[in-house]
């Protein structure tokens, strides 16, 4: 299976002052893509007409009872095992609070006995983030705020659709191990990759099937205290995640710098304004009065069941990176982008078909961001072979590749149709010699200058030849001729 991932634009948040260290823990909600909801047989489907996927159970009608969906439990355990968690006997619990989107006015969740505990995830850069727990719970319905400017704060009334109420979620809670905004993004991207590899959710942040809340605090670098944290919600993309964390961290630092301190609260990320805002402080302190859900039985997975889950796990992104790195002769982090885009099997197949690994990686990273189109590993391998044999220049290769993605076909046919013939080397020999004699100063710098100078001049000569040949010349051949004239 090939799939693509939106990493968001590569924005590097300005780092926080060196004297401070960021401490972030993430709570990620993943909607499990089961056919039916967590406790009833209504369709788990995004985009239906309002209040059509509802029944007595998911509407919380008096007298209705829940029965848990076995597929949701299995997905939760699979994800738990993929995150190296201990999968334990678990108990569903009621989390009691009033919320109009929540039909029973309690959320059926897990409390002191979650399904998954004590796991970890390694980011592509090799940073290990510990995972405290990953528990099963139900989603809420959805309110639309009407009047004012559509914001909750100025709405005149709200309209509720319960289609989403009771959709199964897995909430994955990390330890506060994340130290930079980039790490937070890498953690979420890696988690998403694992979710997609397991095929337990479509994990779309923009559609809300993957939602990230960030618990942010800062501390003086070198200290190991945990200071007051704020929970930032309403983060809708990976790039917002980075910006929201950076913003919140700087807000804390400036409070400390002025002798003030943050208060523990929930804050909302305002994407347009690029800042977090205080959620209205609650009149009541939270007291969820958890207790075991009497309408559901404990879940006790058997050893056999867990062994079967372990045996059925697909190759996860970390293993995919290692495999690709080895096959392509690159470092594991360098294999990260291809794996994240879901192209590692494609890359491996192309290499297995006889293509140079490093070139395959370069092309997928740089020239196939838009998708693979009609390309197959065999066709792609043919193209890379032509390139490494010198039959096509890298520029020509890129052009042919774009055509192959669009329409399929072999590299040789497309190259021929475009009139890409490798230039006669003897013709190039003459052109290089002419160039040397017309530019003696540059030639001296190429032959006798320091490394930087030589490189610069090589670029100059290559550029001139490319200009003269309209890019048809092979850069590698030019380099060979230049070097042969130097001695």
């Amino acid at each position: 299976m090939y799939y693509t991932v939106d990493r968001g634009p590569e924005v590097h948040e300005p780092s926080i002052p060196d004297a401070w260290e960021l401490v972030v823990g993430l709570e990620v909600h993943v909607e499990l893509s089961t056919k039916t909801k967590l406790f009833c047989g209504c369709a788990n489907h995004f985009g239906s007409e309002p209040n059509t996927n509802v029944c007595p159970t998911c509407l919380g009608l008096p007298g209705a009872l829940p029965v848990i969906n076995a597929a949701a439990v299995t997905s939760a355990m699979r994800l738990g095992r993929a995150l190296n968690c201990e999968v334990k006997p678990s108990v569903m619990a009621r989390k009691n609070y009033f919320y109009p989107d929540m039909p029973k006015d309690f959320q059926t969740s897990q409390y002191d006995q979650p399904t998954n505990e004590n796991g970890w995830l390694d980011t592509p850069a090799g940073v290990r983030i510990n995972i405290e727990r990953a528990h099963i719970e139900e989603d809420t319905g959805k309110s639309t705020h009407v009047g004012g400017d559509g914001r909750i704060s100025s709405a005149q009334y709200s309209l509720i659709d319960y289609n989403r109420a009771g959709v199964p979620l897995l909430e994955i809670v990390s330890c506060p191990d994340i130290r930079t905004a980039e790490e937070a993004k890498a953690y979420v991207a890696e988690l998403r990759g694992i979710v997609l590899a397991l095929d337990v959710s479509d994990a779309k942040m923009e559609e809300g099937s993957m939602r990230v809340d960030a618990n942010v605090s800062v501390r003086p670098r070198g200290s190991d205290e945990l200071r007051t944290r704020c929970e930032v919600k309403n983060i809708n993309s990976l790039s917002s995640l980075g910006r929201a964390i950076a913003y919140e961290a700087k807000r804390h630092i400036s409070l400390y710098d002025t002798g003030d301190r943050p208060i523990q609260e929930t804050r909302h990320w305002d994407e347009e304004a690029g800042r977090t805002r205080s959620g209205r402080s609650k009149e009541n302190e939270e007291d969820y009065r958890y207790f075991p859900e009497p309408d559901l039985t404990p879940l006790v997975p058997s050893v056999e069941e867990l062994e079967a889950i372990d045996a059925s796990l697909p190759e996860l992104p970390g293993a995919q990176r290692s495999a690709l790195a080895e096959a392509a002769g690159i470092s594991a982090p360098d294999a990260g982008l291809i794996v994240e885009r879901g192209h590692s099997q494609f890359a491996l197949d192309t290499i297995a078909a006889g293509a140079d690994g490093a070139r395959v990686v370069v092309h997928i990273n740089n020239n196939l961001a838009g998708g693979l189109g009609e390309l197959t590993p065999e066709l792609f391998a043919g193209l890379v072979q032509m390139e490494t044999a010198g039959d096509l220049t890298s520029t020509q290769t890129k052009t042919v590749l774009a055509q192959m993605v669009e329409s399929g076909g072999t590299a040789a046919d497309i190259a021929a149709a475009k009139g890409f013939e490798a230039m006669d080397t003897s013709e190039l020999d003459g052109m290089v010699d002419d160039l040397i004699s017309s530019h003696p100063d540059e030639w001296t710098r190429f032959c006798e200058g320091d490394e930087g100078d030589a490189k610069k001049m090589a670029g100059f000569f290559t550029g001139q030849i490319m200009k003269a040949t309209k890019g048809q010349a092979d850069g590698k051949v030019i380099a060979q001729i230049l070097n042969s004239r130097r001695s």
């Binding site: 209504c42 009047g147 005149q156 009334y157 009497p294």
Partner: protein
């Protein structure tokens, strides 16, 4: 009066808030006395040695009761909405989340 009870008026008022009940002062006074009586009786449980006794949440001790991930028909929206206090655009209508009192 409330001073001698095992629950304070403040605790009763706090619990009422958690339960979204708006009690009059008289009701709070009455509940402070009545609930204190029940709580005092409940404290008799402290006489039992319950160290190491597991709690019972389910009389039958069933585990792993689950259903297959199979669709069942949803119910008719109109029948549900007909019972709702207020409806607009096929959705349940409620006052604003943050409207001022």
């Amino acid at each position: 009066m409330a001073e001698s009870e095992s629950l304070s008026r403040d605790e009763v008022a706090h619990v009422a808030k958690l339960a979204l009940l708006d009690l009059t002062d008289e009701e709070i006074d009455l509940f402070t006395v009545q609930l204190s009586g029940v709580i005092d009786t409940a404290r008799e449980m402290n006489a039992l040695d319950l160290d190491g006794v597991q709690p019972t949440h389910h009389p039958l001790g069933l585990v792993n009761v689950m259903r297959a991930d199979e669709l069942r028909p949803s119910i008719d929206r109109d029948e549900v909405l007909a019972q709702a206090p207020a409806v607009e655009d096929d959705r349940f209508k409620v006052p604003p989340a943050l409207g001022e009192a």
